[in-house]
Structures are given as structure tokens and as C-alpha cells.
């Protein structure tokens, strides 16, 4: 390992807040191009791009050693960054080649693909920064710097599995893969992902005997289990981060921002919450539509379920000055059904009641035993549902013309399917006060 040599003239560059390389000295431009960057495009050296972004975001002067690698060598640079408004001014005062540090095996071996393979490299934000071999087919210069998932979606079928694949990627080892089919010529590729020090690499290999539509199986489960088991958890994590970040920004915890920006942040948080709920719903939908879907037979007490649901949603109800009336503890109605699924149905019903009721009203949860059935009903004081829509409301993606309220149109469909799976029924009627009354009927033995 050699020592860092002070450059006679520092290498300078300017990067804007979008990560675009606005200006740079020749040496850095060459490194940028070798790393897959284009003139005036996004800075294709992830470690430097991150440092520039950090300096602009914090509005602080930074001074750090960063390690970068291109096709040929691994370097350690000493970089000093100064923010100037929406620009980061970089000064590289030392440029040191790490000769004795062996580059990771995979990078050496596979960055020069043979005739039936190719490589795509992504930065930490999953933007396309480099492509080689068969993976370059169909790519345009403007695609570099774009979200890789979006680019691959335009060129391949099955590209929706890429995000899951990247999430499972481990350092310098391709542990799982999927098959992508090129839309233009139907050629199939086996794609594996590797995590490098600060970016990712997708390795493409032409499949000699492609199995049509095999992408999901490669994750090791039946195709129908793909979403709920693999993609839903993968989607929940980034969505959770989006919600948390947007809430932090919206609540101005890290510094004051313009009022309309705070409102945008809250909109982002709400939209992400909606997506998160949709992911949950789609996972459930997939599970209940599988052949042989079964529920457990627990002995449950519906009054207990009602009180738990009221507790879980009490804050949300309080936001709208809505009071949830639960059955008294002296009334007990027992049923045989899966506790978790019953709770899920009730949460959906009470959530809907809160969402579609005017502020300041009441939601009633009542329990009763009718012959061999245990019944729990949720009644609201909203507009009610027209008789003609009594069945329609349980159809998949049916919103009855409503939009923008955070619903996915799947909740009632899933709830009814769950009720059937537990040997019961879910139906809607009018309530005495004009609102809607949803009743879940479950067997008592």
C-alpha cells in the first residue's frame, strides 16, 4: 500500500443537488466515464456522489478519504468538499492507487463478460451506472442514471423480481437468481445479483433452455406464494423508510422547511402508507386465493376481539372525534374461528366505519348468539350503502366510486373470503340510524 501523494494541483469538480456532475477536471471526468458516467450526467462514482450529496444536505465542509474502484484499479482519494448553495465543490488533494489491496474476485473475473453474458452495475440508489456484454442490448445513453428497475421493466418481462433479487444480494456471491425475458426477441437470461462495497451488480447469462415463466420458482416456492412471501417483505421495508423519512421531514424534526414542502412530505407519507396497506392486502389476497387455504380453529370470544379492535383504533377514531362503543364485559359470545383472521376482519370493518362516518359520530360493535351462529356487527352513522350495492361492495377492487381515501378496494373482498374460509359469512344491511351495518357470522362449534 503506497502513501497518498499530495497532488501539485488539486483535482476539482462541482456536483449539483441532483447528483449531476456539472464541471470537473480531466482526471475526474476520465474516472467518471470509466465508471459508466456520461458527459453532464449523474456522477457515476457512488462514494463521491454520496459525499457531495451529504455536504449539500448538511451544508457542512467535509474532509474524508474515500475508496473508489473502476474497471482497472482501486483508489483511495482524499477529498475536501465545500457546499455552495445547491452545489458541492469537490477538491481531491490526493489520488492514491491501492496496489496491494486485491480487488474482490468477482469484479476481476466477471467484469469482462464473454459472448453469452453481460453485467449491469447499479449505484447504492439502484440507478443504472454501467452495462457491458449482452446486457447493453436495447439500452440508450439516456438510460444511465435512471432507476434500473424502470429501465429493465421497459426491456424485459419478469423485471419486477429484480428489486427482490437485489434485496437478497450478498457481498461478492450470487445466491439467488431470476429469469428475465427480453421483450424484443424473447431471449431468456438468468440474472443473479451481487452486492459490491457500495453498489450492486447484476450478472446476465443467456439461458440455453429457458423455462417459460420460471422467475418466481427460482426463489424456491410455488409461484402463487411469490408476492406474500418474498416481495411483500421486500416492499414493506423501503415503504417503511419512506414513511419514516417523510414524517421526519413533515414534522420538521431536522430543521425548518417551507410550509408547502412540509405539506408535500405529509402527502408522501400518506401515499406511502396507502401503498403499504395495498402491499399487505395483496399479500393477503394471494394467500386466500391459493388452493387449500385454511384457517386455524381457535376458541375465541367475540367481546374480547371487539375490545381489542376498539383499543387498536381508538387514536384514529379520536382524531375524528368518533367514539367506538364496545360490548360490556358481562356479555360473552364464543365462536370457533382463527383469532388473528377474525381480528383482521374486525379491524377492516371498524377502520372503514371510521373512514366513512362523519366526525363526531359513534361506531357500535355488538355481539350476539343466534342459534348456532356467533355474530359480531359493526354499525356506523354514515351515509349507508344502497341495497343494490350490498354484494358489489364485496367485489375485488370495488370502491363504489370513491377515491383518494387510502382504501385499496380489497379489504372487504378479503374479509368475506376469510369469513368463508372460517365457515362463516360476512354481509351488510342497513342500520336503524341510516348507516351501514356489517355483520360477521361465525360457527360456535
Amino acid at each position: 500500500m503506497s502513501s497518498g501523494t499530495e497532488l501539485l494541483r488539486p483535482i476539482s469538480a462541482e456536483v449539483d443537488s441532483d447528483g449531476r456532475l456539472v464541471r470537473a477536471d480531466d482526471a475526474l471526468i476520465r474516472l467518471h466515464v470509466r465508471s459508466g458516467g456520461i458527459d453532464g450526467g449523474m456522477l457515476a462514482i457512488p462514494a463521491l456522489a454520496r459525499l457531495a450529496d451529504l455536504s449539500i444536505r448538511l451544508q457542512m465542509r467535509l474532509s474524508r478519504a474515500v475508496r473508489v474502484s473502476d474497471e482497472a484499479e482501486q483508489l483511495e482519494l482524499w477529498v475536501e468538499v465545500r457546499p455552495e448553495g445547491r452545489l458541492a465543490k469537490l477538491n481531491i488533494i490526493s489520488w492514491q492507487v491501492l496496489a496491494s489491496l486485491a480487488k474482490p474476485r468477482a469484479v476481476d473475473d466477471a467484469d469482462t463478460p464473454n459472448i453469452d453474458s453481460g453485467i449491469i452495475r447499479l449505484d447504492a440508489a439502484l440507478r443504472l451506472i454501467h452495462a457491458s456484454g449482452v446486457a447493453t442490448f436495447g439500452l440508450m445513453p439516456r438510460d444511465f442514471g435512471r432507476d434500473c428497475q424502470a429501465v429493465l421493466n421497459e426491456l424485459y418481462t419478469g423485471a419486477e423480481y429484480i428489486a427482490g433479487l437485489i434485496d437478497l444480494a450478498t457481498p461478492h456471491a450470487a445466491t439467488s437468481g431470476c429469469t428475465l425475458k427480453r421483450i424484443s426477441d424473447d431471449k431468456a437470461f438468468e440474472v443473479t445479483a451481487e452486492k459490491l462495497s457500495d453498489n450492486y451488480r447484476l450478472l446476465f447469462k443467456i439461458e440455453p433452455n429457458p423455462i417459460v415463466g420460471n422467475a418466481p420458482e427460482r426463489f424456491g416456492d410455488a409461484p402463487e406464494a411469490m408476492f406474500g412471501k418474498h416481495l411483500a417483505p421486500v416492499l414493506r421495508q423501503p415503504l417503511g423508510r419512506i414513511i419514516a423519512n417523510a414524517e421526519t421531514i413533515g414534522s420538521e424534526l431536522q430543521g425548518p422547511i417551507r410550509e408547502n414542502y412540509a405539506l408535500y412530505a405529509r402527502d408522501i407519507a400518506n401515499a406511502a402508507r396507502h401503498l403499504s396497506a395495498l402491499v399487505d392486502d395483496l399479500g393477503d389476497l394471494e394467500a386466500i386465493e391459493q388452493v387449500g387455504f385454511k384457517t386455524a380453529k381457535d376458541e375465541i370470544e367475540l367481546g374480547d376481539v371487539a375490545r381489542r379492535v376498539a383499543g387498536l383504533l381508538s387514536l384514529k377514531a379520536a382524531d375524528h372525534s368518533i367514539f367506538i362503543q364496545t360490548p360490556g364485559i358481562d356479555i360473552a359470545v364464543h365462536a370457533v374461528a382463527e383469532f388473528r383472521r377474525t381480528l383482521q376482519i374486525l379491524l377492516n370493518l371498524v377502520n372503514n366505519a371510521i373512514r366513512y362516518s362523519p366526525d363526531g359520530t359513534q361506531v357500535y360493535i355488538e355481539i350476539v348468539q343466534v342459534e348456532n351462529w356467533a355474530q359480531i356487527s359493526v354499525t356506523d352513522e354514515g351515509k349507508g350503502i344502497a341495497r343494490a350495492d350490498y354484494n358489489k361492495v364485496f367485489e375485488k377492487f370495488e370502491r363504489l366510486g370513491r377515491s383518494g381515501d387510502g382504501g385499496s378496494g380489497l379489504g372487504l373482498y378479503i374479509s368475506r373470503r376469510l369469513a368463508h374460509a372460517m365457515g362463516g359469512e360476512l354481509f351488510v344491511t342497513d342500520s336503524d340510524n341510516g348507516g351501514a351495518k356489517f355483520t360477521l357470522r361465525l360457527p360456535i362449534s
Partner: protein, 318 residues
């Protein structure tokens, strides 16, 4: 078959020895396999972390409010209750500073000797970084109301705005002068002035021969020793500090082996920083095993530690 009293004592003695060995062995294996695992800190460490945190909060408040600041920080309670002061990156940072406080005096380095070494260096960058390092070390020990200068840029930024937000909530009003004061603190801060950054810069610009000298804590002091290990092993500076100060000597021995330090020098370094903690068992393992460690293998192992730490610190961060 009967045993006499002596034989029973002997058996008990053996059992106790084995139990101690097994305990020490488990500690070693645990530290190597799970370096990011949370070892419950002692009461003394918790108090030291809390005291440091309180000092920093108090000093930032003082810098923001100037005359309006009281003796006790107004926002302390609110920040504690919000969970902000328990965030992994902040606690990890504070634990590293507490570890530095414990380890620094142990290096027992002659300040004049290290000052001469740095300030007479032919490379102007090392001279400048040396001045910064010496200034930062003295500031670290003697500064009044400027304790926040030890923070990383990310943490200083986060703490400043959280304190501003908490002040806003406490006073139920937005004060532009408070926001301006926070912006001034942030704008005045330069990462290059931190001791850790200056030490890393010195190591970056040092020759290989100089760097091997700086790996000796008795010649270089803690910051430069850690910076040298950090550069050679490509580990975060604070990670190296935490590993030197961890429950067992094994991770430190592994780092020294990965950095190619000879056994005699490694023993000296371990004795310097962990002489008061090392057990006979650890000494035995070191003596028997150090030379068997292959540099390539331990480097591969250490790269996994870096990944584990990144994952641990990223968890829970926004």
C-alpha cells in the same frame, strides 16, 4: 470408589478451571462471531455516556441561546423522552468517545515526541494535519462549552436541529435567531478539524515505513494508531476503537494480525491498551494462536465485521 477430601478439592478445582475456560472461550467466540452484538455496558460506562451526551446538549444549547441558556439544558428531558438520545449511531459514537477516554492515557505517549515527529515532517500536508490533531486533542480535553466539536458532521447536524425543534416545542414559538444560531454552528463546523479526521489524513499521506511506526501506540498515541488500523483494514475509525475496547482481546489481536503486525509488537500493543483486562486464558490463546493467523484469512473475516456494523447502525436510522 471413594475420594478423600484432597481429591474432592482437586476435582472442584478442575471443574472451576474448566468453567472459567469455557466462559472465556465463549466470550472469545461470541466476540469474533458477533462483533456487533450488544454487550450490556457497565453502570460506569452508562454514566459516562450520559454525562458526555448531557454536556454536548448543554453546549449546543448554550451556543444557540447564548445568554438565555441556563445551567441545565432545557431540552434534555424532551430529547430523552423522545428516544432521540438512544439512537444507535449516537450511542455508538458516545461509547467510542468513552472508550477513547479510557484508552488514550494508556498509550502513555510523550506529547513532545509526537509533536516533533509531526511538525518537523517534510510533507506540508502532514505538518498542517499534525497541528490540527494536536489542537483538536487539546481542545478535546480543555475546551469549555465547545464539546460538540467532537461530533461527526452528520451527528452535529442532527443534534442541532433536534435541539432547535425541542426549543421550539418548549417555548411554543419559532425564533428566527435560534434558527440562525444553529445555522451558524453548522456553517462554522469543518470536519477536517476533528482529531479523528486529522489522524486519518496524516496516515493517508504517510509512507509505508512511517505507517508501520504509527501502528505502535507507544510512539503514535491512540488516534494515529487507530487511524492506521482503520486505513489498513478499511474499517470505520470508531469501529476500531470499539473493537480495541471490547470485552475480549481477541478482536484486537485479529486486527493486528490482519495489519501484519509482528507478534512481539502485537503483544506490546495489547498490553498497552488491555494490560489491566487481559486474562490468563486470553494470554494463552494469543501466545499459541497469533502466529497461526493467516493475514488473508483474517482480512476476509474483518470485512464481514464491517458489513455487520453497517447493517447494525443502519437499522433504526431514518
Amino acid at each position: 470408589m471413594g475420594y478423600g477430601v484432597d481429591q474432592n478439592d482437586r476435582l472442584l478445582q478442575l471443574a472451576a478451571d474448566y468453567a472459567r475456560d469455557i466462559h472465556a472461550y465463549c466470550a472469545d467466540v461470541g466476540t469474533v462471531l458477533f462483533p456487533s452484538a450488544m454487550v450490556p455496558p457497565s453502570e460506569a460506562i452508562i454514566s459516562a455516556v450520559a454525562a458526555k451526551l448531557r454536556q454536548i446538549v448543554s453546549d449546543i444549547e448554550f451556543a444557540i441561546l447564548k445568554d438565555g441558556a441556563g445551567q441545565t439544558p432545557t431540552t434534555w428531558e424532551m430529547l430523552t423522552r423522545s428516544g432521540f438520545l438512544r439512537e444507535p449511531d449516537l450511542i455508538d459514537f458516545m461509547l467510542s468517545r468513552v472508550a477513547e477516554d479510557r484508552l488514550s492515557p494508556m498509550a502513555n505517549v510523550n506529547p513532545a515526541q509526537i509533536a516533533n515527529r509531526l511538525l518537523d515532517h517534510p510533507n506540508a500536508v502532514i505538518v498542517e494535519a499534525g497541528q490540527t490533531l494536536l489542537a483538536a486533542e487539546s481542545l478535546h480535553h480543555h475546551s469549555v462549552r465547545r464539546s460538540f466539536l467532537v461530533l461527526t458532521p452528520e451527528l452535529l447536524h442532527k443534534m442541532c436541529w433536534r435541539i432547535v425543534a425541542a426549543l421550539e416545542v418548549a417555548q411554543n414559538t419559532r425564533q428566527l435567531d435560534v434558527i440562525d444560531a444553529a445555522k451558524t454552528i453548522i456553517a462554522d463546523f469543518a470536519e477536517a478539524n476533528r482529531a479523528q479526521s486529522a489522524a486519518r489524513k496524516i496516515i493517508h499521506f504517510s509512507s509505508e515505513i512511517e505507517r508501520s511506526e504509527l501502528l505502535k501506540p507507544e510512539l503514535a498515541g491512540l488516534h494515529l494508531h487507530v487511524a492506521a488500523l482503520s486505513k489498513i483494514l478499511n474499517l470505520d475509525h470508531d469501529h476500531v476503537v470499539r473493537l480495541i475496547d471490547s470485552g475480549s482481546s481477541t478482536p484486537y489481536a485479529i486486527m493486528l494480525a490482519a495489519a501484519g503486525v509482528a507478534k512481539a509488537d502485537a503483544a506490546k500493543a495489547i498490553y498497552t491498551f488491555r494490560g489491566d483486562l487481559i486474562t490468563l486464558h486470553e494470554a494463552g490463546i494469543f501466545d499459541a494462536g497469533y502466529e497461526r493467523l493467516q493475514q488473508q484469512h483474517v482480512q476476509a473475516e474483518i470485512s464481514k465485521w464491517a458489513t455487520a456494523r453497517t447493517n447494525y447502525l443502519a437499522f433504526g436510522q431514518l
